[in-house]
């Protein structure tokens, strides 16, 4: 089971690494969001004294204490990268079906779960690499991500721990979706319908405290919001107060639950999709 899963995951990642161009679109997306969106939509530019005057502390408080807008935005962009690339990562799996590759797997004595889990694993690894690159880009750009002095390796693990569970849940469901659809067109249609609401009904760009109530309610249930909340606590504060630790833990519980639920649903859907026709 794990040997087959590992072999299939390795095949996909090998292809990915050998084609450096495949990583560029994702990298450019994060660069555009961080540099272009981060500077043009910066709320501090709208308010007189937003960058240094008394208004700046009001803004900082609204943005969870983030010293700059891009510091707040970085986590959101990583989540967006995660959602988008996870969703479109399924295209490779649809192609495998269309080219007959999937059939050659299905006639081999490979557990169906190994086929599903290798799809989950390859997507997760790909987007996490992009997530790490986005983090590095955010650190390198001028007026970019400003980490607190106390930020350490454990905090970094805590940040990516949140992204990993968000990514895992997304990978479960998008892999199952990719195995279930028969054409790239239908995958793209579904994914386009899903990704924008997930992105806007969250705290990826702005704090939900400024949203109307109905949107706030939805945004607070969105796992993207939970992942950002957990990651931002560490990215903005470094060492956490005990109240912040509790918030972080509850966010993680929520994300683990989200991943588990989608894991079960995804597996059932994939098993159905891989049944004999």
């Amino acid at each position: 089971m794990f040997r087959e899963m590992f072999a299939l995951t390795l095949r996909a990642l090998r292809k990915w690494v050998r084609n450096p161009a495949s990583i560029m679109p994702g990298l450019f997306t994060s660069l555009f969001y961080l540099v272009l969106f981060g500077n043009s939509f910066n709320p501090a530019n709208l308010i007189p004294g937003g960058t240094s005057g008394p208004a700046s502390s009001v803004l900082q408080a609204a943005f969870g204490g983030a010293p700059t807008y891009i510091t707040y935005l970085t986590s959101g962009v990583i989540c967006i990268i995660l959602v988008f690339n996870m969703a479109f990562g399924g295209i490779d799996l649809v192609l495998d079906r269309q080219l007959g590759y999937l059939n050659s797997l299905l006639t081999a004595p490979i557990p169906r779960a190994a086929i599903f889990l290798s799809g989950v694993a390859q997507n997760l690894v790909k987007v996490l690499v992009l997530g790490v690159l986005t983090f590095i880009v955010a650190l390198l750009i001028p007026n970019g991500l400003q980490l607190p002095g106390s930020f350490n390796v454990l905090d970094l693990l805590g940040v990516f721990g949140a992204f990993i569970f968000l990514g895992l849940g997304l990978s479960f469901i998008f892999t199952a979706l990719a195995l279930s659809v028969r054409s790239i067109d239908s995958l793209v249609a579904i994914v386009n319908f899903l990704t924008l609401p997930v992105m806007f009904m969250s705290n990826a760009f702005f704090p939900p405290s400024s949203f109307p109530d109905w949107l706030k309610t939805i945004a607070n249930l969105n796992p993207v919001t939970k992942a950002n909340e957990a990651a931002r606590l560490l990215l903005i504060n470094g060492s956490l107060t005990s109240a912040q630790v509790t918030t972080y833990m509850w966010d993680m519980v929520y994300l683990v639950g989200f991943a588990t639920l989608l894991g079960v649903l995804g597996y059932l859907a994939a098993r159905r999709a891989l049944r004999p026709e």
Partner: protein
């Protein structure tokens, strides 16, 4: 020899509407090359898919290597090798990497995997190219690689779906040699579908012709040719004073005579038996023999007789039914 594949009333109905395979029964014996022939949309690929566990069985039942296909799909998958119509070797990986991947997927351990990979690659003359990415391979090399990719776990039965599709004549002949070699040297049972009648004729021990989801004829190529084709003597006489049709038809062994002016086409199972009486009779009638030739039957004739159209018409004509279009769409 024992039967290694059995199908009884095997039926596939897609979405409760389209009957792709309609109650077919056949047996494949251990160690033989069995050919499944038929026009597009006849049900060849669907039959293979049912035997390969890719398609569920609507009705009837089938066994492969002693395992019930519907009840023990895992055991069936362990005993079969499948070489699909589509080229599924990974372009971005080298030939050897593709083989290693297949070995891993079939639980062949590293030590035995390496020696098997070497021997299979050299069998199809791909040793030298094994380090190159598959995207640099020619069509023939890809087919050869794919052929041995299906053999790493030493299956009992190899399914070949159109193994020489799109290859030139020379490369096809070489593929036939490899398939024959595998069959002879390793005792591998081969179940293959093909469009090419000459391919079936030269490779297969036995053939079944399938059309509209049912088997129309089966037997060895020689049996089929004798039953459906027979030899044809083409006789050109020097004068057409007298119509010889009735006379020629009365000769023992002659199955049919058609006349076009001075040319008679005489159908009979075996030329050798009736030829002396034909020649003697024509001389006696003073018709004068200008030219006489005879041709051995081909599977083309059999196919024409059984399906009602030749394979060549089939290849060029537009497929008319919606189902054929769906199948072709999926094949792309």
């Amino acid at each position: 020899m024992a039967d290694i594949i059995t199908a009884e009333d095997l039926t596939k109905v897609y979405r409760g509407k389209v009957t792709a395979v309609d109650h077919i029964s056949f047996q494949v014996r251990e160690g033989e090359i069995f050919g499944f022939l038929g026009p597009n949309g006849a049900g060849k690929t669907t039959t293979i898919k049912m035997l390969n566990t890719l398609a569920s069985i609507t009705d009837g039942h089938a066994t492969v290597a002693g395992h019930d296909v519907a009840k023990e799909p895992g055991a069936v998958r362990k005993s079969i090798g499948v070489v699909p119509q589509e080229l599924t070797a990974d372009d971005e990986l080298s030939g050897r990497e593709n083989m290693v991947l297949m070995a891993n997927l079939h639980q062949v351990w590293r030590a035995s995997a390496n020696s098997r990979i070497d021997s299979l690659l050299s069998l199809v003359d791909l040793q030298e190219a094994s380090g190159r990415k598959v995207k640099t391979y020619s069509g023939g090399m890809r087919r050869r690689l794919q052929l041995v990719m299906g053999l790493l776990h030493e299956p009992k039965v190899l399914f070949l779906d159109e193994p020489t599709l799109g290859l030139d004549v020379q490369t096809r002949t070489r593929m036939w040699q490899y398939i024959k070699q595998l069959n002879k040297e390793r005792g591998l049972t081969v179940f293959m579908t093909t469009h090419y009648l000459d391919e079936a004729d030269s490779l297969c021990d036995r053939i079944a012709i399938i059309d509209h989801g049912t088997i129309r004829a089966s037997g060895s190529p020689a049996e089929l040719k004798e039953a459906h084709g027979g030899d044809i003597i083409t006789l050109t006489v020097s004068n057409d004073k007298e119509d010889l049709t009735a006379f020629l038809s009365s000769i023992e062994g002659v199955k049919g005579v058609t006349r076009e002016g001075r040319v008679y086409r005489i159908r009979l199972p075996k030329t050798e038996k009736a030829l002396p009486s034909i020649v003697a009779g024509v001389v006696q009638k003073e018709a004068g023999i200008e030219e006489i030739s005879f041709s051995k039957p081909t599977l083309d004739q059999v196919f024409l007789d059984v399906v009602g159209k030749s394979m060549r018409d089939e290849e060029t004509s537009q497929s008319d039914s919606a189902w054929e279009n769906i199948k072709m769409e999926r094949a792309r």
